[in-house]
């Protein structure tokens, strides 16, 4: 498996995730899409680490996983609260931040 193919796969996953973030309304799905983007970045880093024979990329991907886990904790609890008050997880409905 060549580095190039891995990078192409990572780019495809990232693009799917980015488009998912932009077009989906459900906050949970958007969250999943964000996870896809993070994991595609991890994949790219691991691929580079494989290519260069170094460990930095693999270590960095661990960091990303930890951060992603923390983010899920915070993000999911926010989504839970929004769902409790609004009975919906649509991000379009939660537009109160506009002036």
């Amino acid at each position: 498996m060549s580095t190039e193919n891995l990078l192409i796969l990572a780019a495809i996953i990232f693009t799917i995730g980015a488009i998912g973030v932009m077009v989906r309304r459900n906050a949970l799905v958007i969250f999943m899409s964000v996870e896809m983007m993070l994991n595609s970045a991890n994949l790219a880093m691991v691929a580079f680490a494989l290519a260069w024979g170094g460990l930095e990329g693999q270590v960095a991907s661990f960091f990303v996983m930890v951060v992603a886990a923390a983010e899920v904790v915070v993000g999911l609890s926010i989504i839970m609260i929004i769902f409790r008050t609004r009975r919906s997880t649509s991000v379009d409905a939660a537009s109160l931040l506009k002036l």
Binding site: A18, V21, M22, R24, I30, D92, S95, L97, K98, L99
Partner: protein, 635 residues
């Protein structure tokens, strides 16, 4: 002694060193009454009377001392203290007691004491009597500062002090909006005159480094032809404001809103004559400028006719007397403008006028007291029987003012008319005409008030006033009768040290001008009797198409003139300033804010609150940055 030469004052010794007590006693009285609170409601008024009497005793004693001392020592300077000290110049506060100022001090404290006593009766039922007497004492103190000062700056302190007292007393019945407005009017119009005074004093300080009379009299001769004219005209503006001379005359008629003793003391006998005092005191300045002294003559002549004109057409007894006061002060100003021939006569008429006009004002107050404070003469009539003391004392004042020999006004006014003829036939004839008109309106007042049919309103029971009011009336009536004879042969010589020698000889027997004056006065009395003595007088003023009457009833449209010339332009200017502020300055600031607001409301629309749009923006931004980085790598 040559014309114009005045004697240099000698330093005070003996009782003269204590001359400041004359001012301090009534000032203390005023302070005591004002600060003492309601505890002094009962004893306050007599204390105030006592203070003025003490001042009068002091003035009389000093006057006696001066009578006994040789002519060269009759002007006494009393240095008090250094008022303002700077490294380059200093102002000394001091008093000057000379034959001129002591006469004023006697008039102010003498007539002032009588009016204080009269007020005990007149204001007996007023709740704020204590305050009234405090203000009267304050006035006496300020007026004494004015006349006893030895420099223009100290004089100005008194000048403002009497202005304050006048304001407080005109508006004494402040619950009446008309009185409050009249007080404000008097205050504001006096400020116009004060502007002239301040500028004159500042010019003196700039030119001579001092405003002391001696320094100014000495320095003005070397100041060139321009300064005497300017300072003279500025002083005249001040005199016009204080003495209600045209064109600053409009406040005096409204000033009659004050209690009648105030009108008698301040707005007839003393304060309004301060302008005459000022002109006579500044004679060294006016001598040097024909323009300034001619202006004084013109102002005096115009005012003596204007005042008389107003006097002919008013139905309010106090306003007739106010018009008459204006007119008589016009005579004094005219005399003061005539130069060395007139100074002594101006002061002579001032003193006699102080007596007979105070007498008549107090008489009018006595009439109002008996008529439930009605001032309309059309509601009077036949009061001679009901108020005999008031009638007879008023009659003495009447005969004195129209100039029946040998009463006071005959001597003092005839001299002025004669001196005016000495200046020019035109001025003399106008002064003569004024005497005739005076006789007419005073006859009208007498006939409408004391004689004829009863026209009393319902529920009015005229009665004679209490003794505290009639005794001052009797004393003033006596002075109105004898003061002319008493001072006629004496006053010119007495005033010589203060005003310079006179080229004009006085006479005891009527001169041709004197006969002419008497004839004109007789005509005035006859016309007055023909118009108001033979026919019943309607109870409301008949509508008139006579332009003279209409103009007179409207105070010669003095208020309208002020409105058009001063108030309206000022309002226009103010409106213009407001418009500029709103349309230009505010509009500029508001416009800037509008622009910022418009831009930001555009920018605000970017914030839709839609998370997906933000995500799109974020992605596009990252893509954009990536593209730029890739392109820069390629380049």
């Amino acid at each position: 002694m040559t014309v114009l030469e005045t004697i240099a004052p000698v330093l005070a010794t003996g009782m003269f060193e204590w001359a400041w007590l004359m001012i301090a006693i009534p000032a203390l009285g005023a302070a005591l009454l004002l600060l003492g609170g309601s505890a002094l409601d009962k004893v306050g008024p007599p204390v105030a009377v006592g203070a003025v009497l003490a001042s009068f005793a002091m003035a009389a004693y000093l006057f006696g001392q001066q009578l006994l001392s040789p002519v060269g020592e009759r002007a006494v300077s009393v240095p008090l203290y250094e008022w303002i000290a700077t490294p380059t110049w200093s102002v000394q506060a001091g008093l000057l007691i000379d034959p001129l100022s002591i006469l004023f001090a006697l008039l102010i404290t003498g007539v002032g004491a009588l009016i204080h006593i009269y007020s005990l009766g007149y204001m007996a039922h007023d709740e704020r009597k204590r305050r009234f007497f405090a203000y009267l004492n304050l006035f006496i103190a300020a007026m004494l500062i004015l006349v006893l000062a030895d420099s223009y700056l100290v004089l100005f302190v008194g000048w403002e002090g009497v202005g304050l007292a006048s304001y407080l007393l005109i508006g004494f019945w402040q619950h009446k909006p008309s009185a409050a407005a009249a007080a404000k009017k008097a205050f504001v119009m006096n400020r116009v005159g004060d502007l002239g005074m301040t500028m004159a004093v500042m010019a003196m300080l700039a030119l001579f480094g001092s405003s002391a009379f001696e320094a100014v009299n000495h320095g003005i001769g070397q100041a060139g032809p321009f300064w005497p004219t300017l300072i003279g005209l500025l002083l005249l503006v001040g005199a016009c404001g204080k003495s209600a001379q045209v064109p600053l005359q409009a406040w005096l008629l409204d000033a009659m809103e004050g209690p009648t003793p105030v009108s008698a003391l301040i707005h007839a006998a003393t304060m309004v004559t301060a302008g005459v005092y000022l002109v006579v005191r500044s004679h060294a300045i006016f001598e040097l400028s024909t323009t300034a002294s001619t202006a004084v003559v013109v102002v005096g002549t115009v005012t003596l006719l204007a005042g008389a004109w107003i006097g002919t057409s008013k139905d309010d007894i106090k306003k007739v007397l106010a018009g008459s006061t204006m007119s008589q002060i016009g005579y004094m100003i005219l005399a003061a403008g005539l130069g060395p021939a007139g100074y002594a006569f101006a002061i002579f008429h001032l003193l006699t006028h102080g007596f007979f006009k105070a007498n008549m004002f107090l008489g009018a107050g006595s009439v109002m007291h008996g008529m439930n404070d009605d001032v309309n003469m059309r509601h009077y009539g036949a009061l001679a029987k009901a108020m005999p003391y008031t009638f007879w004392t008023f009659a003495m004042g009447y005969l004195a003012i129209i100039g029946v020999p040998p009463l006071a006004g005959y001597f003092s006014k005839d001299h002025i008319i004669e001196a005016a003829f000495g200046r020019s036939a035109l001025i003399g004839s106008l002064a003569l005409l004024g005497a005739g008109v005076t006789a007419f309106y005073m006859t009208r007042l007498m006939l409408m008030t004391f004689l004829g049919e009863k026209r009393w309103q319902e529920g009015v029971h005229p009665h004679e006033s209490p003794k505290t009011m009639t005794v001052p009336l009797i004393l003033l009536a006596a002075l109105s009768v004898v003061s002319g004879v008493a001072m006629n042969g004496w006053i010119q010589g007495w005033l010589e040290p203060a005003t310079g020698a006179h080229p004009h000889e006085i006479s005891w027997v009527p001169t041709p001008v004197g006969w002419a004056t008497m004839a004109v006065v007789a005509v005035g009395v006859a016309v007055g009797w023909l118009l108001f003595g033979r026919r019943p007088i309607p109870e409301s003023a008949p509508a008139s198409s006579n332009p003279f009457t209409i103009v007179g009833r409207n105070d010669l449209f003095g208020d309208a003139v002020n409105d058009t010339l001063v108030v309206k332009p000022t309002m226009l200017l103010a409106d213009g300033v407001v418009a500029t502020d709103q349309r230009a300055i505010d509009a500029g600031a508001d416009g800037l804010a509008d622009i910022v607001q418009g831009l930001s409301s555009r920018g605000r629309q970017l914030q839709t609150g839609q998370v997906r749009r933000y995500a799109l923006g974020l992605t596009m931004g990252v893509v954009g940055i990536g593209v730029v980085m890739i392109l820069s790598q390629l380049a």
